[in-house]
């Protein structure tokens, strides 16, 4: 049972050594609700993969399926180049996971909690317990009871637990949760270090700026389906925009002039009445070009702004409403 080639556009994702993880048509149903609706995912080896989606999109469900906590109803999975089903638990020896919030025996020390995990699944030597404790900066607090740990320390311990078996693939659910700024930087450096060693890091997160700083490849999921997957740089350039404010009387001329740029444009009303905003879907580095094209047509925009961030890309892909301007607010209900 092998998966067909990825449906990603050629060259979108570098995969010289194959995929660390792939899913094809993955379906998971909770009663009448479909949490995963034929999810196709392709995670190249040796990258940090950011898995993004709004609440209830199916992110945690996928993580649970991948580590065998729940069983998929349909679909195929491939782990480190080999077909994988939930029955093949021994295959998880090469996978480290932090699924949802980390949970520990509060009455045991952090070190003993790791000893418990080290004896489960793929066995690891006890010396590794001290190594990973040191790696996450808990060497000196390892003998304290886990119940006395702060949220951030528990998160570090959870990351240490995921690293125990020196896995080829690391699955992390909201890894920055509860970490202080120093901890976030340290985690980022650790994950970067791991990818330099050829390991793959799969991060499910809501914290888009964090993913933007860390991920090489991004997958965006909504309502249990993958709606976009690709290199972060490509996604950001596609998601860039330049917005020009002109009068409604100038609109036809402005649109005609901007047509020369070959980029899709859309128009939104602006305040006060009589003004309009033209969103041109091009990278922010071309803002001057927009200004020049408009000026050549005798139109002088009263404002030109540009932007390119994962958040605007994410929102444009996961909301049915048009992408909001930076000044507007988005209600919880609009987030899909």
């Amino acid at each position: 049972m092998t998966l067909p080639p990825s449906s990603l556009p050629a060259g979108t994702v570098p995969a010289p050594s194959g995929y660390a993880l792939r899913t094809r048509g993955l379906v998971k149903r909770y009663g009448p609700r479909l949490a995963l609706q034929g999810l196709d995912l392709a995670v190249p080896r040796g990258v940090v993969y950011g898995f993004l989606g709004p609440n209830g999109a199916g992110k945690t469900t996928l993580m649970r399926v991948l580590v065998g906590l729940i069983r998929p109803d349909a679909g195929e999975m491939e782990l480190l180049g080999q077909p994988y089903t939930w029955r093949q638990r021994q295959r998880l020896a090469d996978v480290g996971a932090l699924v949802e919030s980390p949970t520990f025996y509060d009455y045991l020390s952090g070190r003993d909690n790791l000893r418990v995990l080290a004896a489960s699944g793929a066995r690891v030597p006890l010396s590794r317990v001290d190594e990973v404790l040191a790696l996450v900066g808990l060497a000196e607090r390892g003998r304290d009871k886990a119940g006395r740990y702060s949220l951030g320390m528990k998160q570090r311990l959870g990351i240490a637990a995921a690293l125990l078996s020196d896995p080829q693939l690391l699955l992390l659910d909201e890894p920055a949760n509860g970490l202080d700024p120093g901890g976030i930087v340290a985690m980022r450096e650790t994950l970067r270090f791991l990818t330099r060693q050829g390991k793959t890091v799969f991060i499910s997160s809501h914290i888009l700026p964090e993913v933007q700083q860390l991920a090489d490849v991004v997958g965006i999921v909504n309502a249990g389906r993958l709606i976009r997957e690709g290199q972060l740089s490509d996604l950001l350039s596609e998601g860039g925009h330049v917005t020009a404010r002109v009068t409604e009387a100038e609109l036809p001329g402005a649109m005609a002039a901007l047509g020369a740029l070959g980029a899709p444009s859309s128009v939104r009303p602006a305040a006060p009445p009589g003004l309009a905003l033209i969103d041109v879907r091009i990278g922010p580095e071309r803002a001057a070009e927009v200004n020049r094209v408009l000026a050549s047509a005798g139109i002088y925009a009263s404002d030109i702004s540009s932007g390119s961030d994962l958040e605007s890309v994410f929102l444009s892909l996961t909301t049915t409403a048009p992408p909001p301007s930076s000044a507007s607010t988005v209600s919880w209900g609009e987030r899909g």
């Binding site: 649970r64 580590v67 729940i70 021994q90 949970t103 009455y107 995990l117 004896a119 489960s120 793929a122």
Partner: protein, 272 residues
Amino acid sequence: MALLHVALLKLVRRPATWIVFAILAGLIALVFISLGATAGSMESLGDEFQVRVLLDFPTAYTIVAGFVLAFGGLLGVAYGAAIIGADWAWGTIRAIVARGESRVRYSLVTFLAITIVIGVGVTFASVVGIGSAIAAAEMAGLGSDGAADPDTLASLPELLVRTWLGVTQAAAIGFAIAMLFKSQLAGIAAGLAFYFAEQFLQLVPGLREILVYFPFSVSGALIATTEEFETSSAFGTFPVMDPDTAVIWSIGYLAVALTIASIAAWRAQITQ
């Protein structure tokens, strides 16, 4: 072995283990010391005779085992449910399964560790119980010379093993219920409800012949010395299963409970 080692580590470090030990030993010591203290002040000769029978060695060894089995069975149900139920309540089973550990193996090894701890607890409670019974016998002026009876001393290991089996069987029931419901609280509550329901049903004369085969009656029969238990009250007599037959039934219940727990673990969707 590594998994068993850490399963034991978890139980030994867990305060609940020591609290259960303390409650079990404390209750038994309290019962015997109370009997010893009140033996000489009974209002009727009949009552005094009954107290003296309880404290008379070597018979008192079986009485001690009976108390360990009764209190231990009750606590065992709760303990078995509490230990595996906590893995669900706290979500710790998630990290273990996510490491590729077999759910069934983890469940069975956890229960094996519980069994070992129960063995220690039963031994500890029996030692405390025997010590308390000797002290109570001395307090009642009965003396404890019979405690050194060689035949009875030779049979003590078997008595201890039977008591341990009975408590382990009770723990297996709590364990299976908690696994089935994926809940610590449900396991303890349903396990104890099951225990007390069986005790109360004993009061219905027509059911007694059937209840002999029920799990907690079976565990009680493991150390039975008579074919029926006669009360001086209006409740009449209660039939009791032959102790050797009870061993077979008890092992059967243990096997069924662990099979149910294993299937429940294997099938469970871990969403906690």
